[in-house]
């Protein structure tokens, strides 16, 4: 399994001491972000715990393919995302497999992405929403769309970093984000309506 950020895997010489030092200095400070990412992907505390633990143990095992001075957070997020796809997605409690395919088909057509897409939602209405409502709207998105929003808006990764984490071209990052945000607006709109914020 490859966990390196680049195509060519560079193996670095790490003494045992250096392995522990790099692990503690470069990897451990990101554990809260990693935990939140895991929780937002799996939407289950036990799964998030297992996913974070598996990811950190893999990161330690493959530490020689981490190049010091490069972005450790992006490197870790990439391992976590791959572990999620390989080990957790199958048993994920998310009942949206069919919905997801439908959404992908709809949103992947050029027409859909180029159509002027307006959701009747006002900034003031969004301002009134509390964190739980925003979180629920986010959680209602299919996981691939949820992921790009988490990486960009919550974790602040650049498009280039997201492209590496997700193994997709930057153009796809851009268009997936665009689609994800349109979907999110629809979800937020239904929350705002149900709360009466849009009247």
């Amino acid at each position: 399994m490859s966990v390196a950020m680049s195509e060519s895997i560079t193996t670095n010489e790490y003494t045992d001491d250096l392995r522990y030092e790099v692990f503690n200095r470069e990897f451990m400070p990101h554990i809260d972000s990693m935990y939140n990412f895991a929780f937002r992907l799996t939407m289950d505390e036990d799964d998030a715990n297992d996913l974070v633990q598996d990811t950190y143990l893999k990161a330690f095992r493959f530490i020689s393919s981490f190049e010091q001075g490069t972005n450790a957070k992006a490197w870790l997020f990439r391992i976590l995302k791959n572990s999620f796809i390989n080990d957790y997605r199958k048993k994920s409690k998310e009942p949206s497999k069919v919905d997801y395919q439908e959404v992908e088909t709809t949103y992947n057509s050029e027409e859909a992405s180029d159509t002027t897409y307006t959701v009747d939602l006002r900034a003031d209405a969004v301002q009134e929403l509390i964190g739980d409502e925003v979180a629920n709207a986010l959680n209602a998105l299919p996981v691939d769309f949820r992921t790009v929003i988490i990486l960009c808006d919550i974790e602040g990764f650049t498009y280039e970093e997201m492209a590496k984490i997700l193994d997709i071209p930057i153009g796809t990052v851009r268009s997936r984000l665009h689609r994800a945000r349109n979907l999110l607006k629809e979800k937020l709109k239904s929350y705002a309506s149900s709360m009466g914020y849009d009247s």
């Binding site: 715990n49 330690f60 002027t116 939602l121 808006d153 851009r174 999110l184």
Partner: protein, 96 residues
């Protein structure tokens, strides 16, 4: 309150008249707004934004909405700390 304070000034009137109420390339503008807010805009996109964004009502509203959603996501969502027990397990397995 003085009724005259509600009367729009000449400059406000002029601004209203030049303000666009529909955008003929809104889909394209939405992509630029996204790039600007994500700090990923090219120089050409920044130029387009600077030149047009104060003249087009749908784009101004779209910018406000996108900005507000982005800020809500980064500021309102609860960030949980990783449970100490998980950190302890990781460190003990790594050190064993």
């Amino acid at each position: 309150m003085n009724a005259s304070s509600h009367t729009p000034s000449v400059t406000e009137e002029a601004q209203k008249q030049t303000m666009k109420h529909s955008c003929e390339h809104h889909a394209e503008c939405m992509k630029i707004i996204q790039s600007i807010l994500d700090d990923e805009a090219t120089e050409a996109e920044k130029d387009h934004f600077r030149e047009n964004m104060d003249k087009c009502l749908p784009c101004i509203e779209a910018y406000r909405l996108e900005k507000c959603i982005k800020e809500s996501l980064s500021l309102k969502l609860v960030k949980k700390p990783c449970p100490q027990s998980i950190m302890d397990t990781i460190l003990s397995k790594v050190n064993s």
